[in-house]
């Protein structure tokens, strides 16, 4: 039993599109897993199957709790322990950075307190600490829209950390960033994984980043797992198997 267990997991969207087909695999606690594949291969869907944001069938057990068929409140409880980071950051641009980070605490704070904006001091402390962990605390009282892309993604990471999660899902976290910032953000994620032992699943588009930071690699093609193994075993042939073509400079973040 890992921390996440997929058993015959499929995802079928309301329009009839089957984005994930019979995936069975297990992810152990503290792993740093990179998922690669062409766009449309089901990477984002696989991540969203973990916290039930997509219609899942089969079985997904997260930290001992079943996602498929979970009630609304059960699903909320699962999601509260799973932080998520997005390609487009998904910050509330008009809100202050601290308020964005505090959104990660919503599931832990009584409704009347969050309604009035009277955050308990220990929750504020957690939010500030998560901002410190990604080195952005000096911007705590700045509007999120006033930050650069890299800074915004750090706030996104801080929001996920503020949940004090067991698992972090990162959906293409660097796809909207330039190469230098991409490395910074990947380092942050790697460090969080190492220091806090948070199980981390990352979708990546760039192969060199996957190779540089990943430990375990899952390759998806057309909704199926076509590779699952140690990053050290990955060579160009494996990539060709996942992508169905040779590697081009477009697949690399450092195009040299």
């Amino acid at each position: 039993m890992g921390i996440i267990d997929f058993t015959d997991t499929s995802v079928t969207y309301p329009g009839g599109l089957v984005a994930l087909k019979d995936v069975t695999l297990s992810i152990e606690k503290g792993e740093f897993v990179v998922i690669v594949g062409l766009s449309g291969a089901g990477k984002s869907t696989m991540l969203r199957a973990v916290n039930g944001l997509v219609p899942v069938s089969g079985s997904v057990v997260v930290d001992g709790r079943e996602v498929v068929g979970a009630s609304r409140s059960e699903l909320r409880a699962i999601r509260a322990d799973v932080g998520m980071i997005f390609q487009t950051f998904n910050l509330v641009n008009r809100s202050l950075v601290i308020n964005n980070a505090l959104m990660g605490r919503l599931s832990q704070v009584p409704r009347w307190r969050s309604f009035l904006g009277l955050w308990p001091s220990q929750d504020k402390e957690i939010a500030l600490q998560s901002l410190e962990r990604v080195d952005i605390v000096e911007k705590a009282y700045v509007r999120a829209s006033d930050l650069s892309g890299g800074q915004q993604q750090r706030v996104g990471i801080a929001r996920a950390l503020a949940q004090e999660p067991n698992i972090i899902l990162a959906d293409e976290p660097v796809a909207s960033l330039d190469p230098v910032t991409s490395h910074l953000v990947m380092r942050d994620l790697q460090r969080i994984n190492e220091e806090l032992g948070i199980t981390t699943l990352i979708n990546l588009h760039f192969l060199d980043l996957a190779r540089q930071y990943g430990k375990r690699l899952i390759g998806l093609n057309d909704g199926r797992v076509v590779f699952d193994g140690d990053i050290a075993d990955v060579n160009d042939d494996v990539f060709r198997g996942i992508y169905g073509r040779a590697i081009t400079p477009d697949d690399l973040v450092d195009k040299t």
Binding site: N51, L53, R76, A77, I78, R79, A80, D81, V82, G83, M84, F86, T88, F89, N90, L91, V92, N93, R94, S95, N99, L102, M103, G104, L106, S107, R111, S114, F115, G156, R159, A160, Q163, L169
Partner: protein, 452 residues
């Protein structure tokens, strides 16, 4: 491809422009209207109409050839003689069959214009001839029919029509047809069937206008007359009287102040509570933030019905329920009024928000209402503030008038003075309203600019 001349093989066919056949349609309507009144003098009118059309063609650069002038004049004489023959031979009011028959004359003329266009514009297919015939004939039918509906043609036998009325009718027709042409011109790049719909819409506009014009007894003559005696009328209203006795035998006092303050209070209570109540409704009435499809439909339905009811009807309704003359009724009415406008404006704004933060909120395990409060509302907060100010401004205006139905405020005073025919006192109240409405509007615009 074989239909096209060799030199145009690579060019696409220019789609017929609405104006090409609609212009004659409206000329036809106007001319039929005029001729319908002036008796059977077909050949003369036919010549004139033909020459006018030739003039339009020459101006538009279609043709300046004398043969075309002859074609048009001959077509005009033939068509209009037929038309006038049918009209002159009628015994009763014009019914649809007769209108159609008479319109055949115009259709003949339309065909002549279509032929001229076809001769000179290679990009048009022969169907332009039929198209023109159709539009001229259709225009004439519509014209005859509306004229009959207005009671202008039929009562030629029954009722005397003044020259003023005919003039008004003609002016009205011209105004309306040009409006319709503008509206139809918008559809110029669309398919033929779509244009037919536009044509139909133009007809509806025309008929509705003529009927409405007639039904409410619109009269430009009355406007002209009354404008002439504006001095007399002004004497009733001017100078404004600011003080009058509250009841008989009492000294003159400023009686405007108290109801004026009351109006403000009604507006404040209405805007504050209405804007707060609108919040949940607005988020439920947007697909982005509705918790479920059922909730969305219900919220949207409530919103639509509440919005349908005018502010004054709310005023009447609550005044009847909680007692006439009670400003509480006014406040209740303003709550409904503010709520409906805010909910509509805000829900449309919410439709356009970034959905990303909502997903992030859901992914963190937040409940639906928490997601709305922390991920959706901050995105629309500046709009909410701006709308709230705007609604306060509207409320001042609206609470002025709901007093008329017994919902308190300055409107009640205005109604009372009006019923006593104290026009100079009415003027004083109107000035107060006018100035305060303008001031509030400027203030609100200034504040909105500051805030956003």
């Amino acid at each position: 491809m074989t239909l096209l001349a060799p030199e145009t093989q690579t060019r696409p066919v220019e789609p017929p422009r609405a104006a090409t056949y609609l212009l004659p349609l409206f000329v036809g309507i106007a001319a039929t209207g005029l001729i319908g009144f002036s008796g059977p003098i077909g050949p003369i009118w036919g010549t004139l109409v033909g020459l006018v059309t030739f003039g339009v063609f020459a101006w538009a650069g279609v043709t300046r050839h004398w043969i075309d002038a002859i074609i048009l004049v001959v077509g005009g004489i033939l068509g209009l003689s037929f038309f006038n023959g049918v009209i002159a031979a009628r015994t009763g009011p014009i019914d649809f069959k007769l209108a159609l028959l008479a319109a055949v004359g115009w259709a003949v003329y339309g065909a002549a214009t279509g032929f001229v266009v076809y001769r000179h514009r290679l990009e048009y297919r022969p169907s332009i001839i039929g198209l023109q015939a159709l539009s001229w004939g259709g225009g004439a039918t519509i014209a005859l029919f509306t004229a009959t509906a207005m009671g202008v043609l039929a009562p030629l036998n029954a009722r005397q029509i003044s020259a003023g009325e005919i003039q008004e009718l003609t002016i009205g027709l011209f105004v309306v047809t040009s409006l319709a042409a503008a509206a139809i011109g918008l559809g110029a790049n669309l398919s033929f069937a779509t244009k037919l719909i536009s044509l139909f819409a133009g007809g509806v506009v025309l008929v509705l206008t003529v009927m409405a014009y007639n039904e409410i007894q619109f009269s430009t003559a009355a406007i002209a007359t009354q404008l002439g005696r504006i001095g007399e009328i002004a004497d009733d209203f001017w100078p404004p009287v600011w003080k009058w006795p509250k009841s008989l035998g009492q000294p003159d006092t400023f009686n405007i102040v108290r109801p004026f303050i009351e109006t403000f209070q009604i507006a404040i209570v209405g805007a504050t509570i209405g804007n707060i109540l609108a919040l949940p409704l607005a988020f439920y009435a947007s697909r982005m933030t509705a918790p479920s499809n059922v909730a969305y439909r219900i919220a949207k339905g409530i919103l639509n019905v509440v919005r349908t009811i005018p502010d004054l009807v709310w005023g009447i309704f609550f005044a009847t329920a909680v007692g006439f003359g009670n400003p509480f009724a006014g406040a209740l009415a303003m709550i409904m009024f503010s709520m409906s406008i805010m909910a509509k404006l805000l829900s449309e704004t919410v439709d356009a928000i970034d959905i990303g933060p909502l997903e992030a909120g859901r992914a963190s395990g937040a409940s639906h209402s928490e997601v709305i409060q922390y991920a959706a509302f901050p995105q629309v907060r500046p709009n909410y503030v701006a709308y709230a100010l705007y609604i306060f401004e509207l409320n001042i205006r609206a609470s002025v008038v709901i007093g008329f139905v017994g919902a308190g405020g300055i409107g009640r005073l205005l109604n009372e003075r009006r019923n006593f025919f104290q026009w100079d006192q009415v003027m004083a109240i109107v000035i107060v309203i006018f100035v305060s409405v303008l001031l509030i509007e400027w203030l609100s615009i200034w504040a909105r600019r500051k805030l956003v």
